[in-house]
């Protein structure tokens, strides 16, 4: 019965329904999604967190996480029905024909075994090739993935290679049995932009070389545009739309798909100002006695403006913020606020000096005490700095809630009853409650979905217009910088590479590092990665 056409289809999922157990009942996660994948084809699965993309990706292997169950639909892999397979048969299938690359490579490797042993383990166990052959093959895979010193890198342990290299070793592990299908689950999300590019390039090359089909799960449309032949957008466990990559990027049909790149549409007009509210002058800082992380850092923040500090992780962005807040007294140099020198130590600063500089954190989850209600969280700085109590305090908190576009019904909620975006808004309100002149925003949007990010950025801009607050915005995301900043500071290895107006910095000619950083940010163009690979030496 098998026609030529049917043979071509590797994976076919029909009307998949999956439920998860939470709050003492089964809740639907996937509500009837179809998915078809041909041999050698790459499908991008995209959506916000909670859209069900990882659950669907894992279901393509016939696997569900503990606490989840498949309640309906059929999954056929190369003509075989996965639902009717025994657990042992499935494990054999996963070892030989379907492979999975997880988001956090560091958490997925066993720290006690050498990389090469882990790379070939499944291949040898399933008897696909002898141990010696598999090891020789692993070295060729390492080479194909452009890992340094491919012959010997396998003898290292997981903690001895970088995050980007580990992610590539994991891809080699997945490729080792020459599977028909690889599922990539957000493989580059935890990496820096500059590292991400290298990993993406090597992944794409190897998948093309071996004509492997793949499902690429991510929330970043620009990344998926480089990798996938076609894209499927998910939301609330349902399919929004599916189309060829070029078509999807050129003319998305659904409003929701358009909103996915809304942050990239935001653009603030950069303005300069000579009225400096806060400046860091010639600061050297170190953790302990030996590890020096900041070298002669000079940054100035104009009043009522936004300065973005960009750089990859480890470049000293967050350390700069710790010096500003007084958590880490500098070895040399100091912080000047409104023309007066700030004491270096937190405990020497007066209450009013503390009030003037507020901070918003990356992870709103850990920035709020889980045992305090929203009213207590926002109410405390109102009481502490401005001495309001009772009804007056309550009114002020409600007023602040309205400023951040929430209402009085949130007063009694606990952080666990809020969404990610709402939590970050509460943190903004807590900072506002002090009525500060400067707010330090440490990666405030990087843990959020695109559409929520846009809401937060718009809110921050509106608050700046209304209250004249100056922001020091720490981020590694150039799209965010483009959206919100007036000036940009580029940091690299604890030094300021350059500071200037946004339009100036984002215009060529760039210093070498700025160029690398800017060119590594994925663009919404399916040819971007190919062009980049050709242009870079």
């Amino acid at each position: 019965m098998n026609t030529e056409h049917n043979n071509d289809i590797l994976l076919e999922m029909r009307d998949i329904r999956i439920e998860g157990f939470a709050d003492e009942k089964w809740n639907p996660i996937i509500k009837g999604v179809d998915l078809t994948l041909r041999r050698g084809e790459i499908l991008g699965l995209i959506g916000e967190s909670g859209a069900g993309k990882s659950t669907l990706g894992k279901a393509a292997m016939g696997y569900t996480q503990p606490g989840c169950r498949i309640t309906g639909g059929t999954i056929h892999f190369d003509g075989q029905d996965l639902a009717s397979m025994s657990e042992a048969q499935k494990i054999h299938l996963w070892g030989t024909r379907i492979a999975y690359v997880a988001q956090s490579a560091a958490a997925s490797f066993n720290p006690a075994h050498k990389l090469i042993d882990q790379t070939v383990a499944a291949t040898v166990r399933e008897g696909l090739s002898s141990d010696a052959e598999a090891r020789a093959d692993a070295v060729t895979l390492f080479e194909a993935l452009q890992l340094p010193d491919p012959a010997n890198i396998g003898n290292r342990f997981p903690h001895q290679v970088s995050g980007g290299q580990l992610q590539r070793v994991m891809t080699a592990m997945a490729m080792s049995p020459r599977p028909d299908l690889i599922i990539f689950d957000e493989p580059t999300t935890a990496l820096d932009v500059t590292t991400q590019v290298e990993v993406l390039l090597s992944m794409r090359k190897i998948v093309e070389d071996f004509n492997t089909a793949a499902i690429y799960i991510t929330h970043d449309l620009a990344v998926v545009a480089q990798m996938a032949d076609k894209i499927k957008v998910l939301r609330y466990g349902e399919e929004v739309e599916e189309a060829e990559t070029r078509q999807m990027l050129a003319e998305p049909k659904e409003d929701y798909t358009k909103s996915l790149w809304s942050v990239r549409m935001l653009h603030k007009k950069a303005e300069s100002s000579d009225d400096v509210v806060l400046s860091i002058d010639g600061v050297d800082a170190a953790y302990g006695r030996s590890l020096k992380v900041l070298h002669d850092v000079n940054i100035s923040l104009p009043r009522g403006k936004t300065v973005a500090i960009v750089g990859e992780s480890g470049s000293g962005k967050s350390t700069t913020a710790r010096v500003l807040t007084g958590l880490l007294p500098p070895l040399k140099g100091g912080v000047t606020f409104n023309g007066t020198q700030m004491p270096a130590q937190l405990k020497d600063r007066s209450k009013d000096q503390l009030r003037q500089i507020q901070m918003i954190y990356q992870m709103a989850d850990t920035a709020m005490n889980p045992r305090q209600t929203v009213g207590e969280i926002i109410g405390r700085p109102v009481e502490f700095y401005h001495g309001l109590s009772g009804k007056k305090k309550e009114n002020r908190v409600v007023q602040l809630l309205e400023q951040i576009e929430l209402d009085a019904s949130f007063y009694d909620r606990l952080p666990s009853e809020l969404s990610g975006g709402q939590k970050q808004r509460i943190c903004i309100a807590r900072a506002l409650a002090a009525e500060p002149e400067v707010i330090i925003c440490d990666e405030v949007t990087s843990a959020l979905d695109q559409i929520v990010q846009e809401g937060i950025l718009r809110l921050l801009m509106r608050l700046q217009e209304e209250n004249g607050i100056s922001y020091l915005f720490i981020t590694h995301d150039i799209a965010t910088v483009e959206a919100i900043s007036d000036e940009i500071v580029v940091m690299f290895q604890g030094k300021v590479v350059e500071q200037g107006l946004k339009d100036q910095i984002l215009q060529p000619p760039y210093p070498e590092y700025t160029n690398l950083l800017l060119s590594s940010v994925p663009e919404m163009d399916p040819d971007w990665l190919t062009n980049l690979a050709e242009n870079r030496p």
Partner: protein, 306 residues
Amino acid sequence: MSQDNNTYSAAGEVAMVKTRRTRAQRIWIELRKAPPTAIFGMVVIFIYLFTAIFAPWLAPYGEAEIFAVPFDVWSSTHWLGTDQIGRDIASRMIYGARNTIGIAFVTTLLAFFIGGGLGLVAAINRSWLDQVISRAVDVLMAIPSLIFALMLLSIFGSSAGSLIIIIAVLDSTRVFRLTRAVAVNVVVMDYVEAARLRGEGLGWVMRREILPNIMPPLVAEFGLRFCFVFLTIAALSFLGVGIQPPTADWGTMVRETATLIQFAKFDLKAGMTPLVPAAAIALITVAVNFVVDWFLHKTSGLRDEH
């Protein structure tokens, strides 16, 4: 369907919020789901507490009231017989609940106050102060606590006050270690940093930011520690340096009537007399552990995989 609506509103992001219940309602719901062992434990604890509080009304005779016949047999006038100087054992059992539980409870509270307070300070400070307290605790823990307690009691005398203070100090070392270990994980959270950046004092950070987040393990430890303190007091009393006569105490009672056990072949009931206070000690220990187990299971956040 509201989900099809693409306009964004921050307030609408989480549509469903669990209905807010009062604390009493939540406790009642949890209680109804408690396993049989926990219910058994709570019933036992309740009976003990009831007995302890209403001892003067429940006991048939006074705590130190002496009757003519020592070592009397079990009868309708003396349910559990009398002891070596003719005191009613049943009455002394009832009064013993009051003394033993009361002293153990006060001792445990004091141990938590000392150990918990120092543990929090050490976790926040993390510098020389932490080192000094931690090493001092190490030294105290290196000495076997029963022998150390015996020595201290013979130095300071066996009054109820010195008993409480000595056992509390010795047991606070374990509370200190636990508090410090769990608090260290909370101290590094951003919200604690936020409170410090706000300029909050040490007291606020300890009480309002850290303590509520480390409560579950501490409450569980309180139950366990209570059992150990209880056993320590009973053991010291058995050795004769604990609660002093004529105050009734279960550990002392076991010692005083211990000789009766050899008469079991003549009168089984009389032979069982020393086992009654011993069983009372065992029962409360088991009961408290059942409740603590259940509480730990509830707050550990682990979900049963059915």
